[in-house]
C-alpha cells in the first residue's frame, strides 16, 4: 500500500508547496512537545503551516529520505538501508534520560555495567546472584524499533545480544507499568524525573536525581533530520524545534555543554 501513500503525498505536496506547508513525521515519544512547538512556529512565522504525524523513528528517516516529509524525527541513528544514501542534516532536539528500573521487591539498588549486561543477556536468572532476594529475573524490553532499546544496546550491552527470553512491551508507559507490577522485573524507561513505584538502579556508582537530566550518561536523543537540499524554511523549522525553552517541561533536556 506504500505506493498509494506515496502518490497521495506527492500530489498534496505539489499542490501545497506555494503556501509553504511543512511536514514532520517520526518518533512518537516527542510528539507532545512537537505539537506545542509547531503551533508556536506557525504563530511566529505566518503563513507557514506545519503538519505532524507519528510512525516511529525509522519511518521518519525513511520518509524524509524519500522526500515525502520535510523533517524526520528519529531516536535512532540513520542507517544506509533506511536512508538509501541520501545526505541528511541533523539537529538534536534534546536528550531524555534513559533509566534502568526494577521491581521494588528485588532488594538491589545499584548495578554495575557488567551486571546489567549479565542480566539482559540472560546469564543471571535470579536476583540472589547479584545480591538481592531470590526472585527469578524477568527481563523486560521494547521492540527493535525503540530508540531506548537501541541506546541500551549501544551504551550498556555493547555487542552482547539481548536475551530472547525478554518480555517485549510496546511503549514507555507500558514498560513502567509492567515493571511496577511484575516481581523480579528489570526494565528501562525514558524519563526526566525519578519514576514512582519502581526501584531506580544506580549504574555503577552514579545515582540519578531529578536535576541530573542534562548530565546522566545514558539518554535517548530525539533528532530532527532533513535533506541538505531542503529549503531554508525547513532548516529554520528544525532550528526552531531544537531551541524552545519549554522543552524541559516535556522531559527534553538540553545537552550539557
Amino acid at each position: 500500500m506504500g505506493w498509494v501513500l506515496a502518490l497521495f503525498c506527492w500530489c498534496s505536496g505539489a499542490w501545497l508547496t506555494p503556501s509553504r506547508h511543512l511536514t514532520v513525521a517520526g518518533a512518537t515519544g516527542s510528539l507532545a512537545y512537537l505539537r506545542r512547538a509547531a503551533a508556536d512556529f506557525e504563530k511566529t512565522y505566518p503563513p507557514n503551516t506545519v503538519a505532524l504525524s507519528g510512525g516511529g523513528s525509522i519511518a521518519g528517516l525513511v520518509e524524509v529520505s524519500l522526500g515525502r516529509v520535510d523533517i524526520g524525527i528519529s531516536d535512532v541513528a540513520p542507517q544506509r538501508q533506511w536512508t538509501r544514501g541520501v545526505d541528511l542534516s541533523s539537529l538534536a532536539l534534546g536528550r531524555i534520560p534513559l533509566l534502568i528500573i526494577a521491581h521494588p521487591g528485588v532488594g538491589v539498588s545499584s548495578l554495575s555495567t557488567a551486571t546489567i549486561r549479565a542480566l539482559y543477556s540472560g546469564q543471571v536468572t535470579s536476583w540472589a546472584q547479584v545480591g538481592g532476594r531470590p526472585d527469578p529475573v524477568v527481563v523486560m524490553t521494547r521492540p527493535l524499533s525503540s530508540g531506548a532499546r537501541q541506546v541500551l544496546q549501544a551504551k550498556l550491552l555493547g555487542d552482547r545480544p539481548m536475551s530472547p527470553d525478554a518480555v517485549v512491551v510496546l511503549s514507555n508507559g507500558a514498560m513502567l507499568a509492567a515493571v511496577q507490577e511484575t516481581p523480579g522485573a528489570i526494565g528501562f524507561v525514558e524519563s526526566g524525573i525519578v519514576p514512582s513505584r519502581v526501584a531506580l538502579m544506580a549504574v555503577g556508582v552514579t545515582q540519578f536525581h531529578s536535576q541530573d537530566g542534562a548530565t546522566w550518561p545514558y539518554a535517548v536523543t530525539p533528532t530532527a533530520y532533513w535533506k541538505k537540499s531542503s529549503s531554508v524554511w525547513v532548516r529554520l523549522l528544525a532550528e526552531f524545534l531544537a531551541t524552545r525553552p519549554y522543552r524541559r517541561a516535556f522531559g527534553l533536556y538540553p545537552r550539557a555543554s
Binding site: 525509522i58 519511518a59 521492540p143 527493535l144 524499533s145 530472547p164 512491551v169 507490577e181 511484575t182
Partner: protein
Amino acid sequence: MKGGWNDERMPRYVTRGATLLFGLMALSLMAVLVVGAWPLLREPRPLTNLMSPLWSPLTHRFGLVPFVAGTIAVTVMALGLAIPVGLGTAITLARLMPQTLQPAGVKLLTVLTAVPSVIFGWWGLLVVVPWIRGQVGGPGFSLLAAGVVLSLMLMPTFSLLYYQALRAVPSRYQEASDALGASPDQTLIGVVLPCAFPALVQGLFVGVARALGETMAVQMVIGGQTLMPKGLAAPGATLTTQILTDVTVFPQGTRGHAVLDLMALLLMVAMYLLVRAAERWGTRS
C-alpha cells in the same frame, strides 16, 4: 439514452461497481503482499530459514515456527473459552429470557463488541496478567493471558452470532417438538441446536477470523517473546503481534519487511483454507 439516471438498471450497476471495487481492493492487497514477500520467496531454500525456530531479524534469521505455534495456541485457547460461554449466553438470551428483555440483551452485547481492543488489553494487563502470575509464577505475560483476554473479546461476538443462529431456527420445528412432548431441554438439544448447526459453524469461523487477526490486545499481555513457547503460561508471540512489534523496524523494501508481508500472507491463506473447510463441512451437514 432511455431512462437516464432513473433507469431501473441503476441499482444493478451500483452493486456491480461495488463488487468490482471490493474485488480489486482484495486483489491489490494480495498483490502488494505477494510482491512484498517475493524477494524472500525467490531466495534459495527460503523454507529452511522460515521453518526454523530462530527469529533474529537483524541477522536475517526469520524462523516463523514460534509465531505459528503461538497463533495456534492463543486462538485455540480463546475459542475453547469463548465458545461455551458464548453459546451459553446465547441460549439464556434466546430461550430463557422473556421476549421483552431480549432486545436489551442484544443491545448490550452489540455495545460490548464495539469496545476497542486496547481496553481489553489494559484490563488484561491489570487483571489477567497479575492473576496468572499469582497462580503459576513467572512474569504473567503469557500465551494463556493472551488466550483469556482474547476469549473475553470474542464472547460478545459469539453470543450475538449464536443468538441470531438460534433465533433463526423456525418456530415450527420447536412447535413440532413441543407437541411430541419434548421438554425445553430436549427441544434445545434434539432440534434447535442441530437445526442451527450450520449457522453455528459459520459463527465459529467469523470468531476464528477475529481471533487470528486480533493484534493490540494480544500484544499487550502476551510478552512478545520470540522463542518457541515453553508452555501455555510462558510468554510468546503470534504472527500478528510480531508484525506489530517489528513493522516499524523494517521499512518497505528491506528483507525484514518481506518476512512481515509473508506473515500477513500466511494468515490470509490460513483463513482462506479454514473458510473452504467450513464450506465443505457446511454442505455435508
